[in-house]
Symmetry: D2
Subunit: 258 residues, 4 copies
């Protein structure tokens, strides 16, 4: 069971945003979100997932995408944007360890704000026969519409969602080396190692105790992020129909609940 992660870092972006003058914020927002969208289409149509995280640094699950695919992503960005991107690839048993490796590849080549460090492509993708299996958990707030969106002003709704995200991301990182990303609305997707039902239940309990927000989660696994993530979505629908808090799309061992 190994996951392949890619760190995507815009080269020397900080200085670019203020040279020769600060650039219009709405143009930067447009640039960032379209770059993310393009990468989402590129990676997504090859079975991967990418998360915007900080936008100048994005994290992708890229099982099955080799060096040639990564290179062609760099070329396509260079041909259409005023910025370029460096890519670091890492593989390991846990997502956090894979990201360590991916990040080090880029850091070893120079600073994010090093003018002469551009379009790094470093790290080794999994080879074709490797047993790549990814686990994805799709968390979602219970009745976010009824409790928040339709009740509070939108910023206060957002504060609740944000709190649950902050709480969950730290817990999953610490407890399991899992990487959790807010994906909009009331949804959080976590790239996880293999975990039993009670680990997910504990995470949900933690968030409820910590910030008072109730989550449910669907879990899937697969050879690619999409396969695992899509199963997770189906499992989440099972939570909705069953009124349960944790569902797996695949058979669980002893501790499994479905």
């Amino acid at each position: 069971m190994t996951t392949q992660l890619t760190l995507i870092q815009i080269d020397n972006y900080g200085p670019w945003t203020v040279t020769p003058e600060p650039r219009r914020e709405m143009d930067l927002q447009t640039l960032q979100s379209r770059l993310f969208a393009d990468i989402a289409q590129f990676v997504g149509s090859r079975g991967g997932y990418v998360f915007f995280s900080r936008f100048d640094n994005m994290i992708a699950v890229t099982n099955g995408i080799g060096r040639a695919g990564h290179k062609s992503l760099q070329e396509s960005v260079r041909n259409r944007y005023p910025v370029t991107v460096s890519l670091g690839i890492g593989t390991a048993e846990t997502p956090a360890a894979a990201l360590d490796a991916a990040t080090e590849q880029i850091q070893a080549a120079g600073s994010a704000q090093d003018k002469s460090r551009t379009e790094v492509l470093a790290g080794e993708p999994l080879d074709g026969d490797a047993d790549a299996t990814t686990h994805m958990a799709h968390f979602d707030v219970n009745d976010a519409t009824g409790k928040y969106t339709d009740q509070l002003n939108e910023f206060d709704s957002f504060i609740h969602i944000e709190r649950s995200y902050a709480s969950l991301m730290e817990y999953m990182r610490e407890a399991h080396g899992a990487l959790s990303f807010f994906v909009g609305g009331d949804n959080i997707i976590a790239v996880c190692p293999e975990l039993p039902t009670n680990a997910y239940q504990d995470a949900i309990d933690h968030v409820e105790d910590d910030v008072g927000v109730e989550l449910k989660v669907g879990v899937g696994r697969g050879a690619t992020a999409h396969d695992a993530g899509y199963d997770a979505k189906h499992a989440l629908e099972d939570c909705r129909y069953e009124g349960t808090a944790v569902e797996f799309e695949y058979p669980q061992a002893a501790t499994g609940d479905d």
Copy 2:
């Protein structure tokens, strides 16, 4: 001094994402970020700002954009996306109060997941002669590249940024009715009421005490979000050159520091 905010809510989006089957996550991410980018261009080229916040609900500063402009945004979305948007407009002295008003306009017309509630356009824009003045504060982490990006794995860098954001957003909301948004990298932009230097210094101190992240902030004001925000960016550059923590682009009263 009055700010005009618009709440942009995708109509009945939750059900759409899972009908007839869950949709591919990377397609949803693409849809959301491109919709945001299009609104950023629309609003931005009219002097406004929009923040992605939860993507299914976005918050915009729209001083100077009237009903006709709002209507034409709705039409353009409807003509090019598989979803529609409702818009609620609110005006008030503090940003939080303006957003209360904006949100209530939409809530009064039905639930975010009400199938028959589409393309609400409610609330009154400021009239042309109104004295619209917006204050924008542009916060930024000191040496984020040296301390985080070039040192930690990217998720752990992100955790630090995220913590500072969670801490600042709650503080500014509580203390001043200000609305703070993460805009990528290590940057947070806050829509604020008029505040003295020490209020900003206290916010920065609070975040440092709370989560150990050092911020600086540039503050601007203007008739539109862009005018105020652009001045804030210049003030932030002043912080960089002067090594200071708080700079205003406009003359401060008694308590001012520049």
Copy 3:
């Protein structure tokens, strides 16, 4: 009755496409069509029209958009694309004469492939009180679906449409100084001076004699391209319902047919 046209020219684009190596064609196609789409949104949301024509040179009807608007378009392109654009503005009674003026503005500043000529902004927009009136004619092939799309292979359908376009564009240019643009499907939109019904009938007859393709046309006029063009679309719907070849959305003098 005066029309304002803007020529939008990508600066030094030919050399860029092959430096340092020829760029992937699909990346160039993406760049060009997205740049066009962004300009269509910018200009379109201000009541204007833009036509892709050669993509590296685009022609826009910009009544009502002043220097500041043009400047902000240039800034937005520069901030988000790897290329920049020069803009020439021209105004005159006939569209062809307005485009002469617009083109000369850019040519006077240097060659399209002059490395040092970037972001020209030249020519005077109409001032606010000027009586800007634009006439737009929306031509469409009769039963293109039944005669071509559902019968021939797609390239052969396209040849018929292309022939009708080549024939119409030259005729309208010569006879009336009108500028006709293919806008996809079986549609051609012409920016025209004021013309009587029989002028449009003659154009349609010419195309049928010349290349055997049957057209109909709706004509509108208005202060902006959108106002005129939208009326033209309604007039075209009238042709569909009435089975006529030429319809005006506004009352015609002596020679009018509706």
Copy 4:
């Protein structure tokens, strides 16, 4: 030597453009050009080429893209646009015959304006072992900048380019079953069967005699459209350096000129 072509047809697009009211032309232009751009990225990153042709019907060279790839393109369009697309796949020795087959697949399933015909996916892709070889010819006008762009008003420049395109497209179609597409600027790309040097020289002579525009052409071949097209671009650069009219990137038989 076999080419695989895909016809991409927007389902029931004509009626959609005018229901319930005619839609804003600039929104339609944006929709069409972004849909094309997205398909260009999808197909292009898999080695294919797509041409906008009429925008509501686009023609792609899809050697190497199987049914699953086609299906995932349909899904991605459906998830992000207000329209859907049908795809017909055809393979044959000449491009025209391949397009015949591709078009018939879609026509057999119903009219382009049949409300109930959506998301057809018909026709068989080449199987993996098939000897797919595509020939691409990249035509370009000699000194278009000096003779037209810097001299005439932009519409009159465009008329010359358009004439050369109309002349070339018909000639190549008739003489060789080749499909030629205008790709912007002064460039035309033709999907060709295998042809000797003199066939290209004759085409260039024909266009010069017919409409007085001087072309040059680079020819490449490869397993994918990109491989062939990229070689054609290099061959075109050879024309520039050598001052010749026809260059091949690969060794020619007896009649070859390089």
